[in-house]
């Protein structure tokens, strides 16, 4: 369970994981998605998905991505995104 120090918001990791996974599956119209599966290969889909993911997590979890948060490596799979969101919620 994560609790944002400044707001007292509580978001369970499993909820974050589930929401992120559901968003990616809807965006890419996937039937299933492993949490370790590499989301990005080289090419244009990378930037589309990355932009959508940042907009989604900021809006959904009321957090602000900045500087190093925006590196594509932070968005390479569902687990990484979940960790990033958890870290931001605890900042």
């Amino acid at each position: 369970m994560n609790e944002a120090a400044n707001t007292g918001r509580r978001v369970d990791d499993s909820v974050v994981r589930q929401k992120v996974r559901a968003f990616i599956m809807a965006a890419a119209r996937l039937r299933e998605l492993n949490d370790e599966a590499e989301l990005f290969r080289r090419g244009a889909v990378n930037s589309l998905l990355a932009a959508q993911l940042v907009m989604f997590v900021e809006r959904e979890f009321q957090i602000r991505m900045e500087g190093g948060d925006l590196k594509l490596g932070n968005f390479r799979n569902v687990n990484c995104i979940t960790e990033l969101v958890a870290r931001k919620l605890n900042t």
Binding site: F23, I24, A26, A27, A28, R29, L30, L33, A37, E38, L39, F40, R41, G43, A44, V45, N46, S47, L48, L49, A50, A51, Q52, V54, M55, F56, E66, G67, L70
Partner: protein, 384 residues
């Protein structure tokens, strides 16, 4: 097949109860009639541009009527741009560039940036341009070399050369993408700022009234408050988000150009007689009309679907927009090619609008992501 059958579109804006009569009248009276002159003179009518702002037609993608915006939903916007595309490609390009910047500022800008720019962008007091492309960076945006370096005083110093900047000649503010170390950031740069030089580009194949410009930045110093969305947000985040709206605009405008070609052809085949009857009665001409009519309807439906998905924030909207742009831009070129063929030698003359439509339609396949870039996106989509 009749023209009226096509006009009885069950999903048209009018059928959905939206009154766009005023907008359509304005397009017909103030834009369509000047399209030929806009093309030949290679410039927009500045009074018309001011009137677009005064009537609240600019910046209508700024949501929730913020800062004086006369906001409309994405489908209404798409229907408007179909009208504009059918009338004049250069005005379509004004809407595309200006509104994608206004939407970007509304989405990613700070409160200070929104307060400073959005009201002016919505009333036409400030025309905005999107400054991404460079001589060596087109489809591959990561290749830009324009750089922004932080000064000891906390400002940014911009150096570089932007190319093919739509409405660059009349823009008072530019959304400039620049390297900031190993990332790419976006800056709002006033044209009047020292170090900014704008040079008109003429002699293009199509969209000749778009007032393209080269924009040179030499030691152009901007405050850190000009940075949009924070350091490193320019690529891919802001760029991709902005281009989605740009692609949607182009796709809807492409439907308009395709429609204009179809209607011009319908009109021509009734009047033009060969072998003792109107050429519309010849089956090889009917074949072309059938293909054009199907292209127009199919492209319009793809655009409507993309607009609806954008409106409801559907996660798959960005890809749907790519698909709409991919199809509609090619459909417009196919329709323009057929239209010129149907018109024969007349179609090669600037006394008939299909000649202009053909040149403009080719441009649609290149701007806001070429056909090949859309193919890359669509082919890879779903493979994550």
């Amino acid at each position: 097949m009749t023209q009226s059958a096509l006009q009885a579109d069950p999903v048209s804006a009018a059928a959905e109860g939206r009154s766009e009569v005023e907008f359509e009248t304005f397009v017909r009276e103030r834009i369509a009639g000047r399209a030929g002159a806009t093309d030949s003179r290679q410039c927009l009518d500045e009074r018309m541009v001011h009137e677009l702002g005064r009537r609240g037609y600019l910046g209508s993608l700024v949501p929730d009527h913020q800062f004086g915006a006369k906001s409309v939903d994405l489908q209404t916007y798409g229907a408007r741009l179909e009208e504009v595309g059918a009338a004049c490609a250069a005005v379509l390009s004004l809407f595309t560039a200006h509104d994608m910047v206004a939407r970007t500022v509304a989405t990613w800008g700070s409160m200070e940036q929104r307060e400073k720019w959005l009201r002016a962008m919505c009333d036409g007091g400030a025309i905005a341009a999107f400054a991404l492309s460079e001589a060596s960076a087109g489809s591959n945006a990561e290749q830009i070399t324009t750089a922004a370096v932080r000064t000891s005083g906390g400002n940014y110093l911009l150096n570089g050369d932007k190319k093919w900047i739509t409405v660059g000649q009349i823009a008072s503010v530019l959304l400039v993408f620049a390297r900031t170390g190993d990332s790419i950031s976006a800056f709002l740069v006033e044209r009047a700022r020292p170090g900014v030089t704008v040079s008109p580009i003429t002699g293009m194949l199509g969209f000749r009234g778009s007032m393209l410009a080269d924009v040179s930045l030499r030691g152009c110093e901007v405050p850190s408050s000009a940075l949009v969305g924070g350091l490193g947000r320019g690529y891919p985040y802001i760029l991709t988000s902005a281009l989605t709206y740009g692609r949607y605009s182009v796709a809807c405008g492409a439907v308009g150009i395709a429609r204009a070609c179809l209607y011009a052809s319908f009109d021509y085949v009734r009047r033009r007689e060969q072998f003792g009857k109107p050429i519309g009665e010849h089956q090889l001409i009917q074949h072309k009309l059938a293909a054009m009519a199907t292209d127009v309807c199919a492209a319009r439906l793809l655009c409507r679907e993309a607009g609806a998905m954008l409106q409801r924030d559907d996660p798959a909207a960005m890809v749907q927009v790519c698909m709409a742009k991919y199809f509609a831009s090619q459909a417009a070129f196919r329709c323009a090619t057929h239209a010129v063929q149907i018109h024969g030698a007349n179609g090669c003359s600037d006394r008939y609008p299909v000649e202009r439509h053909l040149r403009d339609a080719k441009i649609l396949e290149i701007i806001e992501g070429s056909t090949e870039i859309q193919e890359l996106i669509l082919a890879r989509y779903g493979q994550a």
